[in-house]
Amino acid sequence: MRAGSAVALVLALALLASCNAPDTVAKFCSSAVATLKTGDALFDDMKASCIREARTFEPVGTFAVSDSSPAACDNVGKQAEGVKAASKILSNYFIALNDLASFGTSKAGDDAKDLLTKASTEAKLGAAPQKALSSVAGFLTRAAMSGYQQKLLADDVVKVHEDVKTVLDGLGEAVGVVYLQQLRDEELKTAARYKEFRLVAEQQHQWTADATLVLDSRWQADRATFAAKQKAALSYQAALETLARGNEDLAAHARSFKAIELAGLLGPYVAQLDSLVPAIQKAF
């Protein structure tokens, strides 16, 4: 009788020791936080881009030691700070979700494995069964807690998934449309500044082949910087779209939370986010 119960207990624990759904959610949230963090450099560059553009109207060789900040650039900076703060709020949400999803994930698995070993050993030896049973009771309470934890996670994800999508779309628009437009304009103004420098030098008969080479080299370096920043902006927007799609899928499956299915569902999103983050960081 005791041996039969022990075998049943071992089987039950083996089932409970399988991989944990919140762990997959934690990985997704962690990638979300890393992705959102990369946006800070882009938001900071919005005001800087405006100031750099204003500077292109100064003649080459002005050598100003401080940048004037036109009112429009101050306004861009102020709004960009607001957008950055919105990104931080979203980031905090994913951090809280990550903390909740990470709660006891490894511990539950370890507990199950420990109990499995203990139950197998004690079934053979038949020693101190009350100790094993009290441990099992503790584990079952933890399993119930784990169910509660999964319910809380699902509630949170489902409750705000549409809000999360709207905010992600807004952040994506701020960088992928508004900032991109700024960068393209700054690039054109930088080119105009070089053109003007050349025209003035030609008028004064001071234009040389050396000057052409130096200016061309500068321009190529500037173009590479603009290209990298524009790519970063588009990568950031793509990453946020990926994040929104992943979050929608997570919300759609949050109530079932089957670990293996969830890992298969979120895995590609996590991989895509992890590959986009370096492309964003590269420009800054």
């Binding site: 429009a72 306004n75 709004q79 934890q149 809380l152 807004g170 449309v177 437009q181 304009d185 008028q203």
Partner: protein
């Protein structure tokens, strides 16, 4: 027809940037540049700058409109964040309780079994479980 303030501001920014660049293109065409007196060239340059800065102002407006659109959703997300933190605090309290029970059961088991060698360690574990932990 509904007006999208974000789209409107983005379009206006683009229009003013394009106007500014058109003035620059005209000013920097070699024939024009050489034909225009310096004061006229400077005036065109100032106008191009004013148009560009107007474009930047609409850029700020576009960002402001985006912020306004997402504001109510941010409130919901803030609430969900608080809910998740509260839930975690509740789970931590239960976990702490379980750790105390585990340690107490182990100590009682060792005393009942007369396992003197384990009693010291079990007492230590119980003290550790009871002592308050940092909640960061």
């Amino acid at each position: 027809m509904q007006i999208d303030p974000v789209e409107q501001a983005e379009e206006l920014a683009q229009i003013f940037f394009a106007l500014s660049n058109a003035v620059d293109d005209f000013r920097l065409r070699p024939d024009n540049f050489n034909a225009l007196p310096p004061d006229k060239r400077q005036r065109l340059k100032d106008q191009a700058q004013a148009l560009a800065m107007r474009g930047q102002q609409y850029t700020a407006d576009a960002l402001g409109a985006i912020l306004q659109a997402i504001q109510p959703h941010l409130q919901d997300i803030k609430q969900a964040t608080r809910d998740a933190k509260d839930a975690l605090a509740r789970l931590n309290d239960v976990e702490k309780g379980l750790a105390i029970v585990d340690a107490a059961v182990a100590l009682v088991g060792s005393i009942a079994a007369g396992d003197i060698g384990s009693i010291g360690g079990d007492v230590q574990n119980l003290i550790q479980a009871i002592s308050p932990t940092d909640k960061s």
